[in-house]
Symmetry: C3
């Protein structure tokens, strides 16, 4: 398909998996500068709430306003990466996200897929060039009490 040897294709696939892993981790750790660097400046965003976005900086400015202050969890699974050439690829990941803002305006758990396109940029780094989600379901979830990791240790103390 690409003419590349198997080891090189696998190398690129692993690099692409790490881009998406890093994306999720940096969103949840609020490193927005690091997040934006994972996208091409002309990345196309297809999103139900933000239809008129003009690039990654604009998109993640909006995401940051939308989901902070609060806690978000973005977990991705079971990547299906296809190299469409030596420098372009498509990637599908299953998604579970759990977003709650401190003011309670957002409180959901969602399930679906990320349907991305990626390319190697001028520095030889894979970046996301098209960003889209397909949702299976989004649940409005009730508030929960935060668990204190010190709880439930009584059996340790009393034995």
């Amino acid at each position: 398909m690409t003419g590349l040897p198997a080891a090189e294709v696998l190398w690129e696939i692993e690099a692409i998996k790490q881009v998406k892993a890093r994306y999720c981790r940096l969103v949840d750790l609020r490193d927005w500068t690091g997040v934006v660097e994972l996208f091409s400046p002309d990345c196309v965003f297809t999103h139900p709430v933000h239809a008129d976005v003009t690039g990654p900086r604009d998109f993640f400015d909006r995401v940051a306003r939308r989901i902070t202050p609060g806690v978000s969890v973005h977990q991705v699974h079971a990547p299906e990466i296809t190299l469409t050439s030596a420098t372009t690829a498509t990637g599908t990941w299953a998604l579970h996200d759990y977003v709650e803002t401190d003011d309670g305006a957002l409180r959901y758990q969602g399930y679906g897929f990320y349907l991305d396109e990626l390319a190697k940029n001028g520095e030889g780094r894979w970046v996301i060039t098209s960003f889209r989600q397909h949702r299976l379901r989004m649940d409005a979830v009730p508030p929960v009490r935060s668990w204190d990791p010190k709880e439930g240790t009584s059996r340790d103390h009393h034995r």
Copy 2:
């Protein structure tokens, strides 16, 4: 173990991961024809509800009747793939599934493992030849309100 070079073993492992990823995605997107093609015609199914199944078409006919109309989410994690020969393999994946039918007859979130065996078929494609689950827990979950992605945007509009 297989005599294959490392790059070839890794290539087959990646291919097997994509079979399982595709399985989950096509079940949740209701592409039953695509699902059936991921199995050998004589695949052995071990399932608590469907003990007397006669092959993938029969099995997924029953699954389709059982879980539709409704929404399902099947997410798999942390694959442990072992090539047992150049054309056979075992695969273990952690599983989280969330199944709800429109009539409410099914509404659960489950956790456990898929314990699969696979083989390369006549076309050189990996297919599942034995399909089995081990469950850690299955929770009957309450109905939840569906989240509208347009919710929670007030701060965007009013700033």
Copy 3:
């Protein structure tokens, strides 16, 4: 970075992914002997509840007392593995865990990251040499009714 050919680096990355997959699976299946073997005897554990632990045997003795009898689910996602030399590596995984003890003293679902260091031991096997978590959130969750897989089959029986 390591001077190793791509295929060898990918081989080690895959081996490390399988160590962590096995870790989660063996914890949830209560194979504590198998769990301890995935760690170096001098592994450093950084944990909010068990600050004074002296090695993997001590650590998992405490974990076993804490979470059993009960059911646990540990699922890891989106690994970011970096070989720091031919025999050392760092690994980050997203984590979702769900722990419930039979007496109800523990009942939470947590989200965060594992931040591990690993090394090849004398037998050429990757083991975890530093074990640490970063938590995004931990929810105290209500008890749920266990789902019986035989439920929801009425449509099968009555058609």
